[in-house]
C-alpha cells in the first residue's frame, strides 16, 4: 500500500487571522476593516496600516473581483503539491480593493483571461479549514 500523501500546508491561524478563517468556514469572504478610519486590507495586521488603530474587524465582502494575473506551477516546492502539478495560482483584486492569491475553483481554465470578472467559491478541506477560491464569473 502506498504511504499516505503528506498534508498540504495549512494557514497559520492566530488572533489576527482567526476571524478570516472562521468566516471562510461559514462561506463568507472577508477583509480586515479598521473600525476607526475604514481602511480595508488583506492579510490582517495587528494595527491599521493607515491610522495605527488596534480596533479592526473582519468585514464581509461581495466576493467579486478581477483577475489580475495567474501562473502555472510546474515545480512542487512541497511534496504535498506534487500530485497537483501543473497547478494554477490566481491573483485577484477584490472589488473592495485588497489583493488575494488563491486557486481556481473546480476545473481551472486553460488560459484564464486577465481582467476577467471572478467570484469567490469555497473549498472545504475538512471540518476545521475551508479555503476561499475563485471562479471566472459567467
Amino acid at each position: 500500500m502506498d504511504a499516505p500523501l503528506p498534508a498540504k500546508p495549512r494557514p497559520n491561524i492566530d488572533p489576527v487571522s482567526r476571524g478570516f478563517w472562521e468566516n471562510c468556514r461559514r462561506g463568507v469572504l472577508s477583509v480586515q476593516r479598521c473600525d476607526d478610519c475604514g481602511n480595508t486590507h488583506y492579510p490582517g495586521t495587528p494595527v491599521c496600516p493607515a491610522c495605527l488603530s488596534s480596533r479592526q474587524s473582519w468585514a464581509p465582502v461581495s466576493g467579486r473581483g478581477t483577475l489580475v494575473s495567474w501562473v502555472r506551477f510546474h515545480r512542487a516546492y512541497w511534496d504535498s503539491f506534487r500530485a497537483d502539478l501543473p497547478y494554477l495560482v490566481c491573483l485577484v483584486r477584490l472589488e473592495e480593493g485588497p489583493l488575494m492569491l488563491s486557486n481556481f475553483a473546480g476545473e481551472a481554465p486553460d488560459e484564464p483571461p486577465i481582467g476577467a470578472a471572478v467570484e469567490a467559491a469555497f473549498d472545504k478541506v475538512d471540518d476545521e479549514l475551508t479555503l476561499p477560491k475563485f471562479r471566472v464569473a459567467v
Binding site: P11, P43, V68, V71, H74, Y77, W78, P86, L99, G115
Partner: protein
C-alpha cells in the same frame, strides 16, 4: 526631504575582490568572505589594520567574521541575506564614511546556498499563501511578467533576449559559472518552472563571496588603483504588498521612476549617458521593469528595446557584462557593483565596454536602489 546630494563624488570604491564561483561543499561563508576580503585588500594595497568599518551581508555572525579577519572596527552593520541589500549597504557605508564614523569600510558578502541546497520556496520561507501552493520569488516575477504580457503584448521571445545577452557575457567572463552559449530557441524550449517563466529566466544558485572597500575621496588618492566615485544614489521602498513577497502590482514602476529622478539628478546625467548598466536580475522580467522605470525606454516598451541583442556589449545598452545573476554568479547584486567598478577601470578584457565612463547599478525590488559610478 533632506538633501543628501552633497555626497556626490565624496566616496570612492577603492578595492574589489571575489572568490571563484561554484559549488564548494567543503567551504563555509566565513572562509569565502575572508578570501574575497583578502583579494579586495590586495586590489587596492590597503593595510588590513586600516579597515575600521565592517558591513556584512548573508554572513551568519558579524563578530565571528571580525574575529576571523582580526578586525576591531568602530562601525559595524550586519545585513540580512536578501538580494536587495547590496546597494543599500553601499549607500549606508558611504554615509558612514562621509560622517566620519569610519575611514575605510570593508563590505563583505558570502553565499553558500548552492552546496547547502537552498530552495527559495516552500518550507524554507513560510508565507500566508502556502495553503494555495504559492511560494518562491520566481513565482512573484511570473505573476508580474504575465501582467506585462497581457497589458503590453511583451513576448517570451523578447524576454529571452535578456537571458541570451547575459549568457553571452558570461561566456566572455573567465569567473562566470555558465559557459555554454544559449539561443532564444533554447530559452523557449527550457523546462517551465512557474509559467510563464522557464528555467533560463531564473538566476543561478551558487557559492562564492565578494568584497568591496570604500573610503573618502581624499584617502582614495593614496591607494593603488584609480578610484571609482559614487556620483549618484537613489532609493525608494515598496512595502504595501510585502505579504506577496517580491511582487508589486505595477512592477515597481513608480518606485523606479522616483529612484531614477534621484540618481540621475544627483549625478547630473541621464539614461542616455549610461555606458553600461548593471541591473539586478534575480529573474529576467525585472530587467524589463528596470529599463522602463528608469527611463531607458517608455513604459511597456522594454520588450522591443531589448530585441536584437541590445543588452550585449556592442549593443545600445551593454547590461550585466559579467553575465549577471542569470549566468555569472548569484552574488545578490554585490558582484554587479564590482563589475561596474571594473568596467570603469577598464579591467574587463573581452567584455570591456570601450571608453566606459558612466556605469549604473540598479536593483528594482521592494527596496529599489540605484548607484551611478564614474571615474575619479
Amino acid at each position: 526631504m533632506s538633501d543628501y546630494t552633497h555626497l556626490k563624488d565624496c566616496i570612492a570604491v577603492v578595492g574589489v575582490g571575489n572568490t571563484a564561483y561554484g559549488n564548494f561543499p567543503d567551504r563555509d561563508d566565513y572562509g569565502l568572505g575572508a578570501e574575497a576580503f583578502r583579494n579586495a585588500l590586495a586590489d587596492c594595497g590597503l593595510e588590513k589594520n586600516k579597515v575600521d568599518g565592517l558591513l556584512v551581508c548573508r554572513i551568519p555572525y558579524y563578530a565571528r567574521m571580525g574575529e576571523i579577519l582580526g578586525l576591531s572596527p568602530r562601525w559595524t552593520v550586519p545585513l540580512p541575506p536578501h538580494g536587495r541589500m547590496s546597494a543599500m549597504g553601499i549607500i549606508e557605508a558611504a554615509a558612514a564614511l562621509e560622517a566620519g564614523l569610519c575611514d575605510y569600510a570593508a563590505l563583505i558578502y558570502a553565499n553558500i546556498g548552492r552546496s547547502r541546497r537552498v530552495n527559495y520556496g516552500g518550507e524554507e520561507s513560510p508565507g500566508v499563501w502556502d495553503p494555495f501552493g504559492f511560494t518562491s520569488p520566481g513565482a512573484a516575477h511570473a505573476l508580474m511578467f504575465q501582467q506585462h504580457r497581457a497589458k503590453y503584448g511583451t513576448t517570451t521571445r523578447q524576454l529571452a533576449e535578456v537571458s541570451v545577452a547575459f549568457r553571452h557575457h558570461a561566456c566572455l567572463n573567465p569567473d562566470a559559472v555558465m559557459k555554454q552559449p544559449i539561443s532564444i530557441d533554447d530559452h523557449e524550449a527550457a523546462r517551465p518552472i512557474v509559467e510563464p517563466l522557464r528555467l533560463l529566466d531564473y538566476c543561478l544558485i551558487n557559492d562564492g563571496a565578494v568584497c568591496i572597500i570604500l573610503t573618502t575621496k581624499e584617502r582614495a588618492r593614496d591607494l593603488k588603483k584609480r578610484p571609482i566615485m559614487i556620483s549618484g544614489i537613489g532609493a525608494r521602498e515598496a512595502f504595501e504588498t510585502a505579504s506577496i513577497a517580491n511582487y508589486d502590482p505595477e512592477c515597481w514602476y513608480h518606485q523606479a521612476r522616483d529612484v531614477g529622478r534621484q540618481v540621475y539628478g544627483m549625478a547630473g546625467v541621464g539614461p542616455s549617458d549610461v555606458d553600461t548598466l548593471m541591473c539586478y536580475d534575480n529573474f529576467s522580467p525585472t530587467v524589463l521593469f528596470s529599463l522602463e522605470g528608469l527611463g531607458f525606454c517608455e513604459r511597456g516598451e522594454a520588450g522591443g528595446f531589448v530585441e536584437g541583442g541590445a543588452l550585449k556589449v556592442g549593443g545600445r545598452l551593454p547590461t550585466n557584462t559579467d553575465g549577471g545573476h542569470l549566468s555569472n554568479s548569484y552574488m545578490q547584486g554585490w558582484a554587479l557593483n564590482v563589475e561596474a567598478v571594473r568596467q570603469l577601470r577598464g579591467e574587463c578584457g573581452a567584455r570591456q565596454v570601450e571608453g566606459a565612463e558612466v556605469a549604473q547599478f540598479c536593483a528594482i525590488t521592494p527596496c529599489s536602489r540605484s548607484i551611478i559610478y564614474t571615474r575619479g
